[in-house]
């Protein structure tokens, strides 16, 4: 069974589509997370394939279904953006052969295919639908939601894995060479780190609205606090130290005005969800969380990097699309869990949503108010990537757990968790989901 990439037609990427035809008919009913690690230790039992199998099995168990009831699998086959297996590096065949391999020896080590997963999970006897939602868990989620809604699959696993290898992220490959091909050089020759583009937008934002980087501190400190309340997360598991405002402000720059804590830490981790129809979910083990809408942005920068103006236009459009398709307004949001992989762009997502009435230019002032999980305006209750490491899925897990009442110490208490929104990654370009406690 060859696995196809999800066609763009599955995305809701324009305004004017009206309410999503499957609003309230698709549910999340199971969650599974692997343990986390900073880097791969080279062992078979901790390879990304093993972590993926672990998360998938946990999601199945959490949902209370038997594996043979699963008929679909949607995943992102990519498992990194910056830790690549360097060409020529020997592949550990003992690890490859500890599993049932595919034709690609890096399958299960530095990537994941549906074929590899099905070969190594013999209990999944009835999977007849597989699809790739490439890039992020956010895309896998919207792909799976649309697929279940369209009847392509009834009980569907949704997976994202991240591997991390020895060495520094993004420092290998072309960046380690003495020359660069001409086309690539146009955008890469000046040595911008990954967070540069966001830092540039943030600098323009501060200049335009009269703000400053120190105003980010309460948001990052709040996210780190929430992350330490996320037992599945990296910092809770390995580095349970809180971050103070002083720590944040004193941190070294990466691409000023982005400092160390504005950049997420690459880790190894996987997460899986089980989606099914609202009808099927009525009698299941966990309280179903209803998907009210999904929306996607395919917008690209006009030139080398998005400007603040382009970002603000696109996040506003994303907000409008989300509300239109879910049939809600910003006033209906209990909380928001928009992406924070570079903390400096979380505000652009939040302002685009108009969360709690926050307009463009007001988010940093909003951060100085009570944004805690105990307060009336919970911002990023998941803690996001800042709080738990670079996975781009803590936000989604938290949305589901908050609405189910299973967020543990992280459960928001100042408001009732009824409708939340998550997604990313970038303010321009990403996939977003609205989650609800009821289908209505």
């Amino acid at each position: 069974m060859a696995t196809q990439n999800a066609p763009l037609s599955m995305h809701r990427a324009v305004e004017g589509l009206g309410v999503w035809e499957h609003r309230g008919k698709v549910t999340a009913v199971g969650i599974g997370h692997s343990p986390t690690a900073r880097r791969w230790d080279g062992q078979a039992e901790t390879a990304i394939g093993a972590l993926a199998i672990d998360a998938l099995r946990k999601a199945i168990e959490d949902a209370g279904v038997s594996p043979d009831q699963v008929d679909g699998l949607v995943l992102d086959p990519g498992t990194t953006t910056g830790a690549h297996w360097e060409e020529g590096d020997p592949i550990p065949m003992d690890v490859v052969n500890a599993f049932n391999p595919t034709d690609d020896p890096l399958d299960g080590i530095a990537q994941l295919s549906a074929e590899w997963l099905l070969k190594n999970m013999p209990e999944l006897t009835n999977v007849n639908f597989t699809m790739y939602g490439r890039g992020c868990m956010s895309n896998a989620i919207v792909t799976a939601a649309q697929a279940v809604g369209d009847g392509l699959t009834n009980t569907c696993l949704v997976l994202k894995g991240w591997h991390n290898l020895a060495g520094r992220y993004y420092q290998g490959g072309a960046n380690a060479l003495s020359d660069r091909p001409g086309t690539a050089a146009m955008s890469t020759l000046w040595g911008t780190p990954a967070s540069y583009g966001t830092a540039l937008q943030f600098a323009a934002y501060c200049r335009k609205y009269g703000k400053n980087h120190d105003m980010m501190a309460p948001f990052v400190v709040n996210s780190k606090r929430n992350g330490l309340l996320f037992p599945e997360g990296f910092f809770a598991q390995h580095r349970p130290e809180p971050l103070t405002v002083e720590d944040y402000i004193a941190a070294r720059w990466i691409a000023k005005p982005a400092n160390l804590y504005d950049n997420d830490i690459p880790i190894m981790a996987t997460a899986a969800y089980l989606f099914t129809t609202a009808e099927r979910a009525k009698d299941m083990k966990q309280k179903p969380v209803y998907i009210l809408n999904h929306a996607s942005s395919h917008t690209a920068a006009h030139s080398l990097t998005p400007t603040l103006e382009e970002v603000e236009a696109d996040t506003a459009r994303t907000g409008r699309m989300l509300y239109e398709g879910a049939g809600i307004t910003a006033n209906d949001l209990s909380f928001e869990n928009m992406y924070d992989g570079f903390t400096l762009f979380h505000q652009f997502h939040m302002e685009g949503l108009g969360f709690r009435g926050v307009k463009f230019g007001e988010a940093l002032d909003f951060y100085q108010t009570d944004i805690s999980i105990e307060g009336p305006n919970p911002v990023s209750p998941s803690g996001g990537n800042a709080g738990s490491g670079r996975t781009r899925f803590w936000m989604h897990t938290d949305c589901i757990q908050q609405i189910q009442g299973r967020a543990g110490a992280r459960q928001i208490t100042g408001v009732k968790a009824e409708i939340g929104v998550s997604g990313g990654p970038m303010p321009m370009g990403g996939n977003f989901t609205v989650w609800g406690a009821t289908p209505d």
Partner: protein
């Protein structure tokens, strides 16, 4: 500040040949008139493939900047921290170039200032656009 050497490829050879002659050109679409940078096989606006290289004045403005303290490119790490500014072109302010802004002290970039292209030679002799503040 030495950069990586640039090896022109088939798509960008006209661009880099012009750089070697001290001229700045960018891609223009013959079908819809869109200007674009970086170069691509097709027009990002209309999808057409009938592209040409159009001369531009080499004047622009500084849109904004960041200061790189932790650079992923090995060749540049000895020079960090350094400025990286985004320059917008006079002919079309949506067109951007990156610049290390030679001559401008680190973190003292005059946002909004006018700049002029000033070709810089990379280690293998290939020139690339850099930009100098003129006002």
């Amino acid at each position: 500040m030495p950069k990586q050497s640039v090896v022109a490829d088939e798509l960008t050879k006209p661009y880099y040949d012009a750089c070697n002659e001290g001229r700045l050109v960018i891609q223009g679409c013959k079908t819809c008139g869109n200007l674009q940078h970086p170069a691509a096989r097709a027009c990002k606006q209309c999808g057409g493939s009938d592209m040409e290289w159009k001369p531009v004045s080499g004047r622009g403005k500084i849109y904004e900047y960041g200061v790189v303290h932790d650079c992923p490119i090995k060749e540049l790490q000895a020079d960090q921290p350094f400025n990286v500014a985004v320059i917008t072109l006079e002919e079309d302010s949506r067109i951007q170039f990156y610049s290390h802004l030679p001559g401008v002290p680190v973190d003292e970039v005059p946002v909004g200032a006018t700049v002029q292209v000033d070709m810089e030679t990379t280690p293998n002799g290939q020139k690339v656009p850099e930009w100098r503040v003129v006002s």
